[in-house]
Amino acid sequence: MSAVPAVDETASATLKPARLRIWDGPTRVMHWLLVILIGVCWWTGIHNQLEYHLYAGYGILWIVVLRLYWGFVGSSTARFAHFVRGPRHMLDYARTLHRRDTDHSYGHNPLGAVSVLVMLGVVLAVVGLGLFAVDVDGLYSGPLSIFVSFKTGRHLAHMHYTWFEYLLAVIALHLAAVAFYYIYKRQNLVFPMISGSRTVAEPVEEKLRTVPVWRLLLGAAIASAIVWLVIDGVYYFT
């Protein structure tokens, strides 16, 4: 006797679209907080409001550390192991980009994975340079600028601007990709990043595997400790 249940064609014909959960809450909140804080850093940097620029920068550092942690212990689609694949996998996927009939990827697609890694890397580089950057007014230098000379710190401040421009280029590419998927492939990537799910015509096998909330709290505590160590803690050793 077969284990596969008989298909009820009547039921199949009247099957209602279902919601497929893709992103957990922490991943979405981190994504949008990063968007907001990068915007704040940009505005405050241009308008020389460096006091607030520093606070927003610390926020970004906290998010990046937490996101890296979440990439190892978070829910299934947030994990690097879920979406980071080899170059061959990426090339195979890239060859299908021109086709409009491809299915949605569950979570990040192989090229989106590159985007995530590059984005996190460049954000980390910008933040890292900012931590050592020296403010020309001597008011709001990065907390680790104590370890570099004035001249080196000023040089790092200029590298901080240069790398922010690279970050803007990466963000522009990310937005262009999202627009391409929406316009050409008819896939809305933004809405799932807001709501956490998307509508599917038929039930699919994939299921978001979430993790206990204590893991998030532990990650938040670790990220907070690292940010505190960078801002204040290092002075306990001076």
């Binding site: 020296v134 020309v136 001597g138 004035f150 000023r154 200029h158 001076t238």
Partner: protein, 164 residues
Amino acid sequence: MSRIGSRRVQGAVLVCFCLIAVGAVAGPAEIAQIKPRQDKLRDMGGALKAVDDELKKRTVDWDNVVLPNVQTLKDRSGYLLNWFPKGSGPESGVKTYALPAIWQKNDDFVKLGKAAQAETAKLAQVAAGKDAEALKAQALATGKACKACHDNYRSPDYEKENED
């Protein structure tokens, strides 16, 4: 003379006039001020940074770090307003963060410069008391006096190349 040749002569004459006009405002003495001004301002930035950094440490080295650097700030700030003769701005052709507004709104620039001098003199007074918390507050006030001038009379960092 051909029409193209005539235009070239006219262009050369115009360039000469421009160079003479710039030279009339930006003489060698004014241009020679720019590099030393940048060096001295960088020294002041380095001195304020040294004071700030020291104040963040658990133990403050007043005699070897704080007081000498505060003295540098006080000494240099006394001459601050002499470092900006007319003609030592971007029109000189030398790479500088100094904005033309320094000479266009010179009264305001001088007012802010004097305010910075006053804050720096006060910094030296407070440093002599060797009270770290009081000096932190005064270093903040001094930095804000620097910022008040930089906000309007110095090119934003991100618009310029690295200063060497």
